[in-house]
Symmetry: C2
Subunit: 202 residues, 2 copies
């Protein structure tokens, strides 16, 4: 009998690899990525502590897979935000909101994604996953330049980086907590508005 691709519980555990990743995601959300241990992940997945080695070469391989998945989630989330708008300017603002929203709703994943020191990436697959997320923003910036919302004379990457810096900084501050007492929604709107129009009086 061939093993079905999914939802099969007949062949040993079934799909232990996915179960381990899921358990690792939960555990990371609870204790943070730096307190994640392979043994606890195995415990949560209901297998012995040696079982993960059938699916991941070592602990680093698991966290790497975790990072790629998390970047994938972010990329999808940003793509959905863009797809909801025909107007490039609205799409751009939607990306910003989605970015901060993702961080607020998935704080552990957001934190983890950008801590390069916490995960090995010899293969570069995590970096490539990050590029895909950035690509969504860059494309939208270019569309905005085409329709004149953003200046076409400025380098697209520079505009994208500025937008990213602002939303990333806001997301980081909100997630890591120095100013958690703020009205979140109003703050996001205000910061994005300032990003568009500038800080200075006019």
């Amino acid at each position: 009998m061939m093993c079905p691709m999914s939802t099969s519980k007949t062949y040993h555990h079934g799909n232990l690899r996915q179960a381990l990743l899921e358990a690792a995601r939960e555990l990371t959300a609870e204790v943070g990525i730096e307190a994640l241990t392979l043994r606890e992940v195995a415990r949560r997945a209901g297998v012995s502590h040696a079982a993960p080695y059938n699916h991941f070469a070592d602990k680093a391989a698991l966290t790497r897979a975790l990072a790629v998945e998390a970047f994938g989630s972010l990329t999808n989330f940003l793509r959905l935000a863009v797809a909801a708008h025909l107007d490039p300017a609205k799409a751009l603002k939607a990306i910003g909101q989605a970015y901060v929203g993702f961080a607020l709703h998935n704080p552990s994943e957001f934190r983890f994604i950008f801590r390069e020191d916490l995960r090995s990436d010899e293969t570069g697959e995590v970096a490539r996953a990050g590029e895909r997320a950035y690509g969504v923003l860059l494309e939208t910036v270019k569309h905005c330049q085409e329709v004149g919302v953003l200046p076409s004379s400025t380098d697209s990457n520079l505009l994208a980086l500025t937008a990213w810096s602002t939303t990333h900084g806001l997301a980081t501050l909100l997630v890591n907590g120095p100013r958690q007492e703020l009205e979140v929604e109003a703050t996001i709107d205000a910061v994005l508005h300032t990003l568009q129009q500038g800080l200075y009086s006019r």
Copy 2:
């Protein structure tokens, strides 16, 4: 004989507390805060692994002291930047540059400061140290509002937060690496200019 406040090597170690903090700072720079161990800190300071307990109740007390010190460095650095300018607008821009500069030159401290999950702060002293750094920015924003550079109708904290978000995001991206290949100086200038004038075409 009284023990002099500093530079004395006569009384046992002399000033082990400072030596431990210094060693911890170096070690953090090398391996990151999450790989910092009390035993290695003691090793570097040239004392036994139990000696630190004469100066810090436990490991958390040491990292807390480290965080307060790091925030103090940042605050001083920002104050120096502000003090160099009479024009509030120039002072504001200088803060932004100083903030990113601090992050680039002290990456491990910068990272550590904003990882609340990595250090306990029951006493709130770390939070208070953070407030002092934020205070420098807030004061400058208020000066800018007084002279009309920034709109006085907008809440000072909101303006400060927006400025902080942008510079913090830029600093984070530059320090944590997703886009390290960029021309750093030019990028900082471009981002700060956009922060002032806005992303949109005009």
